[in-house]
Amino acid sequence: MTDQTALFEFLLRLGDNTLVLGHRVSEWCGHAPVLEEDIALANIALDLIGQTQMWLGLAGEVEGAGRSADDLAMLRDVWDFRNLLLVEQPNGDFGQTLMRQCLFDAFHVELLTDLTHAPDDRIAAIAAKALKEVTYHLDRSSETVIGLGDGTEESHRRMQTALDLLWPYVGEMFTADTVDDAMHTAGIGPDLTALRSRFDTRIDAILAEATLTKPDSIYAQSGGKTGFRHSEHLGHMLTQMQWLQRAYPGATW
C-alpha cells in the first residue's frame, strides 16, 4: 500500500465516522425528549457534518480523481464506507444514543488531539478546529451519561443495557491494521495502544461516576473501518441519506 493510498483510506475513515454519526444524530431532530436536547443534538450533528466536509474534501484532494466531498458522501455504497461499526449502530433510546456518543467522543477527542500535531498542515488545521467542537460534545455526552447512569432505577438500567450492547464495538477503534500502521509510521496517525489507555482512563472515570459497570469482555466486532463487513444498519441508513442524489443525480439547491 502506497502512503498516498493509506492517507486516502485514513481520511475516509475520519470523514465517514463523522458523516455516519452526524446523520445518525440528525435522526433525532424533532424527536428528542425535550426541546433543549433536540437543539443540542442538532448542533452536534451539524458540527459532525461540517467536519465531514473538511475530511472528505481533503480525501478527494488526496485521491486526485476529481471526487468532491459530496461525491464521496452521496455516491458510494456500503462496502466503500470506512466508518467504525459503533457509529452506524441505530439510535435506540435516548440513553443508547448518548452512550454511543460518549464512547465515540472519548475516542474522538484523543484522536484529534494527536492529529493536531500531524506534520501535514491541512490535517493539523482540521483537527484543531474539530477538537474545539468535540471537546464540547464529550463534555455534554459524558455529563448526560453520568446523570442518567446515576439517576433513577430505570435510567440506570437503560444506560447499563446500552453500555453492554455497545461495548463490543469499542475494540475496533483501537485495533490497528495496515492503514493505521502506515499512518503511524508516517508520523500522522496515532499510536492506538497509547490512545486506548488514555481512552480507558477517561471512560473509567465517567463510568465510575455514572455507577455503571464496564463489561468484562474484550471481544471486539470488526469490519467497519476496513469496509470488510458493515452491519446491516448502514445500508438502511444510506438509503435514507443518499436517496435524493440517487433519484435526482446532480440535484443542487
Partner: protein, 94 residues
C-alpha cells in the same frame, strides 16, 4: 413526583464591556446542564461571550397589579430629574 425540569432564566453578554442581558428561558435538570443548554439554544449564531443562568424560582419579581403604588408616585416628581441645571458650555456634552 415532579417530572418537569426546573425553569432557568438565561442572561448573555454579547461583547466584552456590555452587560449581561436577559435573552429567554429554558428547562434543565441542574445548573451545569442549564449552562450547556443555554450555549446550544442561545449562542449558536455567535451571540455571546459569557452566559449566566439562574433558576427562575430564585427570581423575585414585582407584581403587575402593584404598578400603581410602586411606580406612579415617581411620575409627578420632575424635580428628581437633574434637568434644571445649566451646563456651562465649557463642560460640553454630558
Amino acid at each position: 413526583m415532579k417530572h418537569e425540569w426546573p425553569l432557568w432564566e438565561v442572561f448573555i453578554r454579547g461583547q466584552h464591556g456590555l452587560n449581561h442581558r436577559h435573552v429567554g428561558s429554558l428547562h434543565a435538570p441542574d445548573a451545569e446542564m442549564a449552562l450547556k443548554n443555554a450555549r446550544d439554544v442561545y449562542t449558536r449564531r455567535n451571540e455571546g461571550v459569557s452566559i449566566w443562568v439562574v433558576e427562575a424560582a430564585h427570581i423575585t419579581a414585582s407584581s403587575p397589579s402593584d404598578k400603581g403604588p410602586l411606580y406612579e408616585p415617581s411620575e409627578s416628581k420632575v424635580y428628581r430629574h437633574p434637568t434644571f441645571f445649566d451646563i456651562p458650555d465649557e463642560a460640553g456634552h454630558m
